[in-house]
């Protein structure tokens, strides 16, 4: 079956190249090009990665308006931190108290959103296994510019106690542009609040341009990501 497909792919203009690139990385079966028969009998190849996913890469989004408006926006971004509700590691447990009466992060304009589309802050909560990294990258890329990454706990800085683990990444900044680390194992909720406050300052100062940094150094990040993620089964940039 696969040979058959190869043959047909060869007949397409850029078939051989594409096949080569496809063969470099292990591709999940559902993402392999396949022959499809239309209702009127026409046959054609569907290439899931090309056809289902937008292939464009991220671009640097410069501030669009005058300085004063951008400042207003930066203030608003700082005062309206919407955290993606995605606990990537054990540190997620420390975020829950922030919603409770004792810490009540809502007071500071910090809220949680269930979808990355609407969130602008991604808290990587502790160690990040390779498997989760893939999901984290995808979620990060699906957030809209400007977006911020906060590394929570030592594990995101240097691997922490998992520094020699076969399964976790050591330095989060190699994979995603981190705006701020909150150290500790685990950092207390108070530390988190302090961290968010620092993040706000960065944002207000216009220094939290991680998303643009990511776009600028996209190839570098991607290479790093692909080095650890062996079963890369998605487009390079997940819109």
């Amino acid at each position: 079956m696969k040979d058959e497909l190869d043959k047909r792919l060869d007949n397409q203009p850029d078939g051989p190249e594409r096949r080569g690139s496809l063969k470099d990385i292990p591709v999940r079966e559902e993402l392999l090009p396949r022959w499809v028969k239309g209702p009127e009998g026409q046959e054609y190849v569907v290439e899931p990665l090309q056809d289902y996913f937008c292939q464009a890469g991220p671009t640097v989004q410069t501030p669009a308006y005058t300085r004063i408006i951008e400042d207003l926006f930066n203030w608003a971004r700082a005062e309206s931190l919407w955290i993606l509700g995605f606990g990537t590691g054990c540190g997620a447990i420390e975020m829950r108290p922030l919603m409770t009466p004792r810490f009540d992060a809502y007071r500071y304009g910090i809220q949680w959103r269930p979808t990355p589309r609407q969130a602008n802050l991604f808290v990587i909560s502790g160690y990040l296994s390779v498997k989760t990294l893939k999901r984290a990258i995808r979620s990060y890329e699906q957030m809209q510019n400007p977006k911020y990454v906060v590394g929570l706990g030592s594990c995101t800085i240097n691997g922490g106690m998992y520094w020699d683990s076969y399964n976790t990444i050591k330095r989060l900044d190699d994979y995603l542009p981190v705006d701020l680390y909150i150290t500790g194992c685990m950092p207390r909720p108070e530390a988190l609040l302090q961290g968010f406050d620092d993040l706000k300052k960065l944002i207000r100062a216009g220094k939290a341009e991680g998303a643009n940094h990511y776009a600028e150094h996209f190839d570098w990040y991607k290479a790093n990501q692909k080095r650890v993620i062996k079963d890369w089964d998605m487009p390079d940039y997940s819109w």
Partner: protein, 301 residues
């Protein structure tokens, strides 16, 4: 009444007041809800910040034309509903564009935004959006029912479909309010009101996390900003209808603010007390508890 150009600035003024009031009111309601949980909750101006933030998001994606238009439909629905109903009784300035149609127009225009939004959400291709729409539509079939019956009942009662005339008939004394002249209809309508406010126990449509947040799952940045704008206008526009029909309307802005607050508060109050219903539970609940009230209302009139 006929159209006059002066209506445009007047309507914009209404809109401006309602948007600002809505932004504050929504935050206040959230704060009250937070207080029930012994929290302080968001700052009162938080909605402004969120709104500006969302307009300030630099990038966005689109899934297609309908996706793009969905929030436009949504906000048009909210603004239109607000402007089709006179906001203040007896004020020519705040009668808005109500010359275009009567109560029935308002009743049906409620669906305009939801329909457009549902279509936009549908084009995102996200299954959870579709699931949310499916739940929302299912729920609305019975949730709107007692309200429709109540409207019919009071239209019969006052023998008119004109909102202004209905309000006029309730003037004079508090006891002239429909609340007291036709309590059955009001009870039915207020139960229906609960169902349309997207608050517990009838908020499985949004079900955060399960289907992330239902129809708007894919919406973000300025789309979301438009929807947030609608989110503050639309409930108030709807409450204005309720206020005019059942609670004597409002002749001045302070009365307006108060009544809108109280009606809104009713849904919040119920929401913080009761847990969430599943869709079929809420469908049955409206049929079993609210519908008989509505039927009784039209039979008694």
């Amino acid at each position: 009444m006929q159209f006059e150009w002066i209506m445009v600035p007047y309507s914009l003024l209404t809109l401006f007041i309602v948007v600002n009031y809505g932004l504050l009111l929504t935050a206040l309601m959230q704060k009250i809800g937070a207080r029930v949980g012994r929290r302080h909750g968001i700052p009162i101006w938080q909605n402004y910040v969120d709104l500006i933030k969302n307009y300030g998001i630099r990038s966005s994606i689109t899934h297609g034309v309908m996706f793009y238009l969905g929030p436009v439909f949504r906000l048009t629905g909210g603004v239109g509903l607000l402007l089709f109903v006179p906001t203040l009784y007896g004020s020519e300035m705040f009668s808005n564009l109500s010359f275009a149609g009567d109560l029935i127009l308002a009743l049906y225009f409620i669906f305009f935004g939801s329909l457009g939004m549902a279509l936009g959400a549908g084009e995102s291709g996200h299954p959870h959006s579709a699931i949310g729409v499916s739940r929302g539509l299912s729920q609305v079939t019975t949730a709107e029912l007692p309200f429709a019956l109540a409207v019919f009942a009071i239209a019969l009662q006052y023998q008119t479909l004109s909102v202004t005339e209905i309000v006029a008939a309730q003037q004079g004394s508090v006891w002239n309010w429909t609340l007291f002249t036709n309590p059955l209809a009001v009870a039915a309508a207020m139960l229906s009101f609960l169902g349309s406010m997207m608050r517990p126990p009838f908020d499985v449509v949004l079900a955060p996390q399960e289907i992330p947040i239902g129809p708007p799952t894919e919406y973000h940045s300025s789309y979301l900003a438009l929807m947030q704008t609608n989110r503050v206008i639309f409930p108030i526009a709807k409450i204005v209808v309720y206020m005019n029909l059942f609670f004597g309307g409002a002749a001045t802005w302070p009365v307006f603010f108060l009544k809108v607050f109280l009606i809104y508060f009713f849904s919040l109050f119920v929401g913080v007390v009761f847990p969430r219903f599943r869709v079929e539970q809420s469908v049955r609940w409206f049929l079993v508890w609210a519908l008989p009230l509505g039927i009784a209302a039209i039979l008694v009139v």
